[in-house]
Amino acid sequence: MDFYYIFAGSPNTPQRVLTRLALSGQQKVRGRIAENRETPADILQVLAGDENWEVRASVATNPRAPHEVVEILSRDENADVRYSMAECYHMPFHVLDRLAQDENPYVAERARMTLEEMFVRLAI
């Protein structure tokens, strides 16, 4: 049983412990911290610079990610990070709008689909 992984994803893990787990050498543990909505904003900011793109994508799609982190990651060099953001309905409109014009056609198309879906939901 990987208790580090389990505690990294739990909403009941104290922030002090989440911070400690963010230093883990295991990518999957850092990824779980990056997904956790209870992870402090400053720790998400640190993980936004993680060497692993999956960790950065988890930060990017965490609804608690600070605004400035979202802005930076929406220009991430890895298209998979940008694609993950393009799928998110909670992304700010201007971020999705920029992603809809991404150089990568898959990212751009995905962002356009998300925007269309958002407009449909707003219209209902």
Binding site: M1, F3, Y4, I6, F7, S10, P11, N12, T13, P14, R16, V17, R20, L21
Partner: protein
């Protein structure tokens, strides 16, 4: 020398207490085990009320779900609001197959749950992780 882990076991069944004691021995860790037998005693222990006025805050609480007087959920509701108990790891012990029981306990602040009977290797891993992360 490794520091002793202070464990509070909240368990009404003498058989389950013995099993937990054996699991702790099996885990081969330095543990000071304190046992209380019902939910009310657990709340008194964790809020340092008589006869537990001198009780130290445990490093981890192993909390049975089904107990007389106050069940595990009631205990969680009482103790998670205490300042000294907000961050103490609490592990629910349950033989229940009900997801609702476990989900309710998670919503009340448990950090993990173990299925009864508690077993040495699982408990050992858990205590090691808690010791390295919380302390």
């Amino acid at each position: 020398m490794n520091k002793f882990i202070e464990v509070l076991l909240v368990e009404d069944s003498p058989a389950d207490v013995r099993i937990a004691e054996e699991a702790i021995i099996d885990a081969g860790m330095n543990v000071n085990l304190h046992v209380v037998n019902d939910g009310e005693a657990a709340v008194r222990y964790l809020t340092q009320q008589a006869p537990y006025s001198d009780a130290a805050t445990p490093d981890i609480v192993l909390l049975d779900l089904n107990m007389p007087k106050m069940n595990g959920h009631d205990v969680l509701e009482e103790i998670r609001i205490q300042n000294n108990m907000k961050d103490v790891p609490i592990v629910l012990l349950t033989a229940s197959e009900s997801c609702d029981d476990v989900e309710k306990a998670h919503s009340l602040g448990i950090n993990y749950y173990l299925r009864k009977p508690v077993q040495g290797p699982g408990l050992s891993e858990l205590l090691t992780a808690v010791q390295s992360l919380w302390h």
